[in-house]
Amino acid sequence: MNLLIECKKIKRTGLFPTFFIGGILAGLFPLLDMTFRAERYRKSSQPPIEILFSADWQMMAMLNTLLIIICACFLYYGEYADHAIQKMCSLPIRESRLFLEKFMLMSFLCLFVFVIEGAAFTYCALRWFGGRMDFFPLLTGVFKNFGYCFFLMLPAGLLSLLTASACGNLWTPLGIGVICLCLATMIPVNNPWLSLFPYALPFQMLAGTRAETVIFFVTAGAVECVVILLAELLFLRVRRAFA
């Protein structure tokens, strides 16, 4: 694996700043929400993390998924725009490796956004629900919750990369991704079967969810990742066979 190469490829594309700004925006969301509606939330007796997630996560998850879709499109657009992919294919590497490295880069960028968002949540919990929870249990809580959300983000990331790698331009995969995201927002979060749609999984949250449901979604997420990865490998093979 050579992640450094993929990092170098996105130099000057604005992808890093996009994720940075996206992360800040998503992090600002709970902050603003709490600033204006703290009183309403303070009345609730739920644990702070649960309050914050149920109040703000839907919006934030949408932003995160949108970021991931854009990221996937730009990562492959860079390859197709000036035929760079043809050069890559005539070097002694496998195209599947390219896909995996892009996926890893995307995961890191996503992790970066989650760190900003996690920090915002921690700050909100301390600032507005200070008395209810100690710092370290709060931190582990935030960590667990975002870890869960991160994992459930991966299938959407893989699927976006798959469409981007198949399309070879910028607008088709972006359109497909946005349409899928719109569909996903219409799916009720508490419908477990419909929520299995990869773009709906990022809207799930850990706090306040029963253990069986968590196991169900983690298993489903893992299975989806494997299936999408296999689909990409198959797609590359078929495309090569028909080239």
């Binding site: 000057r12 760079a84 992919i85 043809q86 294919c89």
Partner: protein, 251 residues
């Protein structure tokens, strides 16, 4: 000894035969001129040798390695420039070469050397999307040359270059076997251009190989066919025309 050999290599696109059973013999350490008019199948053949597209018939061996079994092994030895240069427009020329260098696991100097070979050193830090056509072409060449691969596939390498550039690149290509021990395949539309670089030529028309051999043999043939041997271009055009006529006037 032949570095590259193909056997009845063919490629059809839904019934249309772009390359029709050609058997090439490319000697080691030679500059091999691959000649043919538009649509003859030159690029298609080169893409097959790189494994970018899949042959629909026949086989080939490169440096003793067979496709598709040793595809990755073959690619380690081949530098290529096919059709238009390929690059990341947001990166500079040097950064583009750095990426290839890292993938191939070469030394840092190989990038500097490649930039010097194609005289791009001055523009190495400009983003490639701001390059002129000729500069992009030079970068494409540098991408093929980086790391001194033993085999080079260059598809119309002088495309878009000015007369001085064309002369430089021709001289460079001609010198590659001696300097780096490379085997070079160059494609072109012009026999006059190939004449200046190549020792051996293959002439392609409509996917068929019309002639393969040394330039001397081509000149001898010209004499026997009644063409002036000091103007091979004329003979080349006549050859293509005769072949087209034989095919029923379709072009």
């Amino acid at each position: 000894m032949n570095m590259i050999e193909t056997q009845n290599l063919s490629k059809s696109y839904s019934g249309f035969r772009a390359v029709d059973g050609i058997s090439l013999h490319i000697p080691k350490g030679a500059v091999y001129g691959f000649l043919g008019p538009n649509g003859a199948g030159k690029s298609t053949t080169m893409k097959m040798l790189l494994g970018l597209i899949k042959p629909t018939g026949g086989s080939f061996v490169i440096d003793g390695k067979t496709y598709p079994k040793d595809r990755v092994e073959i690619l380690k030895e081949v530098g290529s420039l096919i059709e238009s240069p390929a690059f990341y427009g947001n990166l500079s020329g040097r950064e583009n070469l750095e990426i290839i260098r890292r993938i191939l696991g070469l030394s840092k100097e190989s990038v500097t050397e490649a930039l010097e070979l194609v005289e791009l050193t001055q523009h190495r830090d400009k983003p490639v999307k701001k390059y002129s056509l000729g500069m992009k072409q030079r970068l494409g060449l540098a991408e093929a040359l980086v790391g001194r691969p033993p085999i080079l596939l260059l598809d119309e390498p002088t495309n878009g270059l000015d007369p001085v550039g064309i002369h430089e690149i021709r001289t460079l290509i001609k010198s590659l076997p001696e300097r780096f021990g490379a085997t070079v395949i160059v494609s072109s539309h012009l026999l006059s251009e190939i004449e200046l670089m190549a020792d051996t030529v293959g002439i392609l028309n409509h996917g068929h190989l019309l002639f393969e051999g040394t330039l001397e043999r081509l000149k001898e043939n010209a004499l026997t066919w009644g063409y002036p041997s000091d103007n091979l271009e004329e003979m080349f055009l006549a050859m293509i025309e005769a072949d087209n006529r034989q095919r029923g006037g379709v072009r």
